[in-house]
């Protein structure tokens, strides 16, 4: 599995878990303050942002393929 594919899957998973799938009307009684599912989603979005910050710094050079791919070989047809 290539790095780009691994990152794409990681991004999809992180995006998917920002959605409050497990919060339902029965499971989330109205308490004081903001809704639980809102807090959960906001927290997961913070996690997502930290992941992106790290991934850009850590994997940029590998994703650019500067040392592993010949740019001319990209042409196919």
């Amino acid at each position: 599995m290539t790095l780009a594919l691994k990152l794409f899957i990681s991004v999809l998973v992180l995006i998917a878990i920002t959605v409050p799938w497990f919060y339902t009307a029965e499971a989330s009684p109205v308490d004081e303050g903001l809704p639980n599912w809102f807090i959960y989603s906001l927290f997961m979005t913070v996690i997502f942002s930290l992941f992106l910050f790290y991934a850009i710094g850590r994997f940029w050079d590998q994703l650019s393929g500067e040392n592993t791919m010949d740019s001319d070989s990209d042409k196919k047809d």
Partner: protein, 485 residues
């Protein structure tokens, strides 16, 4: 709409006029900084944007009038559910992460100017690169339209005697003037000012709402009395729509032709990397702040309809001035921020359309044209296009948010050609072209059918038509590639 205190009073109008003059001066400075009369210099600023300019032009371009009006309006109507907009503005950077490193590297070696330059270089199939270019042009026209509409609404609802038409025509003229003066250099430099003003404006309105209006108390107590349904967790359809929106909007925005041109225009790899790392966190201090305006607005000014709720930001500003009169001077900054957000997006889109028409469509038809002739043709296109968009902005009825969605549902169709094309050598032009045509056709058919009043769900199973189109698009690419083997 009820009109009380007008944001664009004589002081507000003076500030706006000074601001517009400043933009023209910066545009002129961009013109005098020109190094050569070439498309590379005009459309990409000589590929020499440093960290501050690149970051702020990316920021000002990504966060538009839609952020200030469309998002707060949607937050007003949909409640906390619209928190998803923070995630999709962040997903834009995830989109860049997946293709920008390689695309930037290639663009330095192959001197790409437009998105279609990469497509043509990668697939060597002219119909595909022209189709990608056309989709980009249609999507960006929609973008300009929604932003001109936003500026018209703002001017009309924020002033006593300036009409929507006067607002739209004035701002369209100023934008096209400085854009054609200095191209990308003028646009990026004005974006620095506009980005700063936008950022300060968002901080300001959020600060006033939280500290002067006791915003947190309003959100947790007053809002629940007025709109208790905001506390309900999303239904399964809403959750599907939540995910669908993040994918459509996040990855769609990352494919904006003007954003791709900013990737080409970065001075160096490290400049681009650092800019994107900062961009990751900006949804928290821009999108989330504007959502708060919509949510607090729902508690303070309840009962607005669909169209009126798109002006909730203006109405909240009016409300703040009424409640806290000493805030009037500070809120002038926000007025400038609105113009900054809208104008910076319109100028970037206009420049990008102009480059696409000139480089991807006109230049292949006139292969012997000089760089100066092509640049001149591009400027002429900008003027004609802006005139047409101004007329359309005055007669279009869709809400701002719906206009954004239509644009992104089209743009997302080119995602496989770029994302997959950049990372796999096995992809062929034929399946990509077929997938793009079918995906776009499905999206357009659905959008037009709904527009004509067809009795079909707006989003089947909560998923946008554009995402269904993308799924079919990917299936065709997959099957086509297997058959080709």
């Amino acid at each position: 709409m009820e009109k009380g205190i007008f944001i664009l009073d004589s002081t507000g109008v003076t500030v706006v006029i000074v601001y517009l003059i400043l933009l023209i001066i910066i545009g002129l400075a961009g013109r005098f900084a020109r190094k050569e009369n070439s498309m590379d210099d005009f459309y990409l600023g000589g590929r020499n944007l440093g960290i501050i300019v690149l970051l702020l032009t990316l920021y000002a371009t990504q966060y538009s009038g839609n952020t200030l009006f469309g998002f707060s309006g949607s937050a007003y109507r949909n409640g906390f559910w619209f928190l998803l907009s923070v995630t999709f503005m962040m997903a834009v950077i995830a989109g860049y992460l997946l293709y920008a490193p390689r695309l930037y590297y290639l663009s330095r070696h192959k001197r790409y100017l437009t998105t279609s330059d990469f497509i043509q270089d990668r697939y060597n199939f002219r119909p595909l690169s022209i189709l990608v270019s056309l989709i980009g042009i249609v999507a960006l026209c929609n973008f300009i339209l929604s932003n001109l509409k936003a500026i018209g609404l703002f001017v009309e609802s924020g002033s006593a005697n300036i009409s929507m038409a006067q607002g739209v025509i004035t701002f369209a003229f100023i934008v096209v003037l400085y854009e054609t003066l200095g191209g990308m250099r003028s646009v990026a430099w004005t974006d620095v000012l506009q980005g700063l003003v936008l950022f300060v404006g968002c901080l300001l309105i959020f600060g006033v709402i939280i500290f002067q209006l006791d915003g947190l108390h309003v959100l947790s107590v007053n809002l629940r009395e007025v709109r208790p349904e905001f506390w309900n967790p999303p239904t399964i359809d809403q959750k599907m729509s939540w995910l669908s929106s993040i994918l459509i909007v996040g990855f769609g925005i990352s494919l904006y032709p003007q954003a791709i041109q900013r990737i080409y225009a970065a001075k160096s790899k490290s400049v681009l990397k650092r800019s994107l790392q900062v961009m990751v966190f900006l949804p928290f201090v821009t999108t989330l702040f504007m959502l708060t305006v919509g949510w607090v607005g729902a508690a303070k000014i309840p009962g607005l309809g669909k169209e009126a709720s798109d002006t909730i930001t203006v109405q909240m500003l009016n409300y703040i001035i009424t409640e806290v009169p000493q805030m009037q001077v500070l809120l002038i900054v926000f007025v400038a921020a609105v113009f900054a957000a809208i104008m910076s997006t319109v100028d970037s889109s206009l420049l990008s359309i102009s480059s696409s028409i000139t480089k991807d469509i006109y230049a292949p038809l006139r292969p012997n044209s000089s760089q100066a002739e092509l640049t001149l043709f591009g400027k002429l296109i900008s003027w004609l296009l802006m005139a047409a968009m101004t007329v359309l902005a005055l007669i279009t009825q869709d809400t701002i948010w719906r206009l954004i969605e239509i644009k992104l549902e089209l743009l997302i169709q080119i995602a496989p050609a770029i994302f997959l094309g950049i990372h796999t050598k096995r992809l062929c032009a034929g399946p990509v072209f077929a997938g793009l045509i079918v995906g776009t056709a499905i999206t357009l058919f659905y959008v037009i059918a709904i527009k004509l009043g067809a009795d079909i769900p707006d989003r089947p199973f909560g998923i946008h038509a554009g995402l269904w189109g993308l799924i079919v698009n990917l299936v065709i690419i997959g099957m086509g590639s297997l058959l080709k083997k």
